[in-house]
């Protein structure tokens, strides 16, 4: 199944296959491989591969390269497709037919699906599907995937064993023909491609610029590569524009076809989306609306989420108490309550915030506003050398850097994508929240100060992270990843009413992923941490919790670390927190409560706060002075403290080099900034 981005391919794929889907990766590249199953009219199972959306087979991103290589039969991990379902957005037939035109060249059986027919009808477009089918010699099906219209006809067509082969009345433009003929011959002989596919591939190779090559695809044979290079040189020498000629020739054919099959109301007018855009991307009104959306987003994350979070917190505490009542005191009980329930529970509390963020992101995406936000942000982003498309991953990173980093896949330029990945974890994610909250609570005595102070301090941390991200983007684009100013072309999809079902489906999917993480990685770390703070045992079994930790493995490690972090005002106990929270930032809070021997009564963070305030250096000086609290917050703004992010960066960049670089530059910056803050603060007598 292939089609342009936003043609409704995913919707159609979901409608056809329901839950019988498998999502994986194409080996060697970070492109999602979606395979679904449905049944033919005769009950035979059929496998559908949902290929990445693309405008053309001339690939400009790994996604498009996968599409090209699967269709050319160049991927060993994917069988040759025996039929191609081309999904088209019927409201924009010309542009969508371009990819179809390339695919018809392949000579594989094709089914054309004219999706979004409901919108086309509303816009007054009349498409003669019979004539289109007759002209191209393929099966054409009108469909509205969201309403389930046309699905039965599509399944019927898919079940046919006698799908006609396309009659493709189109001649290779004369200037390219000799080159195509020679390259086609070489591709048939040396690369064992069938004649039609060889011709299609020859056309593509001859008119390609710097097309993307990906791992896992069969490369060209040496002979073909030599033929290709010779013709390319000749083309360059004669300064011919084969690509332009070919594209024009295809569009000429498409326009002729459209004149036959498409009737549009005269005169073409600006659509509703265009009129909405005149306001929503306006240089004043657009920004106002954008500001309003962002304010609503942050308000919901920070204030609305509090209610479900308190509820979850209370239930986790109740569970922990329940276990304490049932089991006799001992290591097993402590492991379960302090290690497992405390550790995993500490993460699950963030679920509401993450759900709210995903809900907003889903809402913005499904209405089509996200692309507008990227459009507006293009100008500020260009100041640091990135373009608007980098905004979407960065916004997502406020919830969690992991979906954010995965969203960078839409950025075609490899350098821009890498810079976006490198800076994404600087956006304050929701895992930093508990650290900020604890430090603010320790810093500012309860009710004495108005809530705005706390909110202000919190906002300051978010701002600091965001500024840091932009600053580093600027720096990287000037040093490591120098490249020409990025060129951005982005299609803005038509506005749509939000589709709540689809959004909910995504929220469930993503939060399940999050919970799975909590259930595996975080669970493991919590158990390990509990072990490291419990063993070896203090010789005196009645020793205080604090004394026990001092002799434990974790305590020993903290002592080792102390000389490095003392200049930042941190002692060995904070050091343990820094080390354990390398797994995930929020672990810092649970570590503090374990280390400072807090009796968690499960109500709120009050007791931890009091314990921290009472903590002293050996010489009796207070440990958590306001200056140290602020320094610690700033440390978490910058430091790379998240194993899952490191794993994802490794996967997305296919090397250890970038995650290691990320740890070094982020944690290095954290140390330097904290050193400056603490030392200057001390000098000023804070």
């Amino acid at each position: 199944m292939v089609g342009n981005p936003n043609c409704g391919k995913t919707t159609l794929f979901n409608a056809l296959t329901g839950l019988r889907q498998k999502v994986g990766n194409y080996p060697g590249v970070t492109v999602e491989k979606k395979i679904g199953e449905c049944y033919s009219q005769h009950g035979r199972p059929m496998k559908i591969i949902d290929l990445p959306g693309a405008y053309s087979l001339a690939a400009r991103s790994p996604d498009e390269a996968v599409l090209r290589d699967v269709l050319f039969g160049r991927r060993e991990d994917t069988p040759q497709p025996d039929r191609v379902i081309c999904v088209l957005d019927a409201t924009n037939l010309e542009r969508n037919l371009y990819l179809v035109h390339q695919i018809l060249d392949l000579g594989r059986p094709v089914i054309l699906v004219l999706n979004m027919m409901d919108l086309a009808v509303k816009a007054g477009l009349r498409i003669d599907t019979h004539q289109l089918a007759a002209a191209l010699g393929v099966v054409v099906i009108a469909c509205a995937a969201v309403k389930g219209e046309g699905l039965v006809e599509l399944k019927l067509a898919m079940s046919r064993s006698d799908l006609p082969l396309a009659r493709h009345r189109w001649d290779v433009p004369a200037p390219i023909a000799p080159a195509v003929a020679e390259l086609q011959a070489s591709l048939s002989d040396a690369d064992a491609q069938s004649p039609l596919i060889a011709r299609a591939e020859a056309l593509l190779l001859l008119t390609d610029f710097e097309s993307v090559r990906i791992a896992g695809s069969k490369p060209l044979s040496a002979r073909t590569a030599a033929v290709l290079a010779a013709w390319q040189q000749r083309c360059a020498r004669e300064e011919s524009n084969w690509s332009g000629t070919l594209i024009r020739s295809r569009y000429d054919a498409i326009n002729t076809l459209c004149r036959e099959v498409l009737r549009r109301p005269r005169p073409p007018e600006l659509s509703g989306s265009d009129r909405l855009d005149a306001v929503l991307v306006h240089s004043i009104w657009g920004w106002l609306f954008f500001g309003f959306v962002m304010a609503a987003l942050f308000f919901s994350i920070f204030s609305l989420a509090e209610y479900p979070m308190n509820w979850i917190d209370a239930h986790i505490a109740a569970l922990s108490r329940g276990v304490k009542n049932i089991l006799p005191p001992g290591d097993l009980r402590d492991l379960l309550t302090d290690g497992v329930i405390g550790g995993v529970g500490g993460i699950v509390v963030f679920l509401p915030q993450i759900l709210i963020l995903f809900f907003f992101v889903g809402l913005l995406e499904s209405t089509g506003y996200m692309a507008r936000a990227a459009f507006l942000m293009d100008r500020p982003m260009s100041k640091v050398g990135l373009h608007g498309k980098s905004f979407i991953p960065l916004l997502g990173s406020y919830a969690c850097a992991i979906p954010g980093i995965m969203a960078t896949r839409t950025i075609e330029n490899a350098k821009d994508r890498l810079v976006t990945i490198l800076i994404a974890p600087l956006m304050s994610c929701s895992a930093r929240l508990p650290v900020y909250l604890l430090m603010i609570a320790t810093l500012l005595p309860a009710a004495a100060l108005p809530a705005t102070w706390k909110a202000g301090l919190m906002l300051l941390m978010y701002l600091l992270g965001t500024l840091g991200a932009f600053g580093f983007a600027w720096l990287f684009k000037r040093t490591l990843f120098k490249s020409a100013r990025p060129l951005m072309i982005m299609e803005l999809p038509a506005y749509q009413p939000p589709r709540l079902k689809e959004i909910l489906r995504q929220m469930v999917e993503r939060s399940w992923l999050f919970l799975k993480n909590a259930g595996t990685i975080i669970l493991g770390i919590s158990i390990v941490l509990w072990f490291l703070t419990t063993y070896p045992k203090h010789p005196d079994p009645k020793a205080s919790a604090e004394a026990q930790i001092a002799v434990s493995f974790a305590g020993q490690a903290g002592h080792l670390l102390e000389p490095v972090i003392k200049p930042l005002g941190f002692d060995w106990r904070i050091g343990i927190g820094l080390v354990t929270s390398f797994a995930a930032r929020e672990v810092f809070v649970s570590s503090m409560s374990v280390i400072f021997g807090v009796q968690d009564n499960g109500e709120d963070t009050l007791p931890v706060r009091d314990a921290l305030r009472a903590a002293r250096w050996p010489n009796g000086a207070s440990l958590f002075t306001p200056l140290v609290c602020i320094t610690l917050m700033v440390y978490y703004v910058f430091a790379m403290q998240c194993m899952s992010t490191i794993a994802v960066v490794k996967r997305e960049t296919n090397s250890w080099r970038w995650p290691l670089f990320q740890i070094a530059y982020m944690t290095g910056t954290a140390w330097l900034v904290c050193f400056a803050i603490y030392q200057i603060g001390r000098a000023l007598d804070y």
């Binding site: 400009r60 542009r95 371009y98 610029f209 600006l270 990227a374 060129l487 072309i489 299609e491 803005l492």
Partner: protein
């Protein structure tokens, strides 16, 4: 007319933003939003600078 980076020019043309295309500018100063063939395409400043458009004579639409 389209100038500059070959791969970029190819993609623009493939998206229907070719030499024969009728372009309507909807919004934007540095980053612009254009309507081509019924789709909205956003171009950043650098991309827009690579494209030369001709104004249609008044009255023709």
């Amino acid at each position: 007319m389209i100038n500059g980076d070959d791969g970029f020019a190819q993609r623009l043309r493939e998206m229907g933003f070719g030499e024969a295309a009728l372009v309507t500018k909807i919004s934007g100063r540095t980053t612009s939003l254009c309507q081509v063939n019924g789709t909205r395409i956003a171009l950043n400043h650098n991309a827009a600078m690579a494209i030369l458009v001709e104004a249609l004579p008044a009255g023709v639409r």
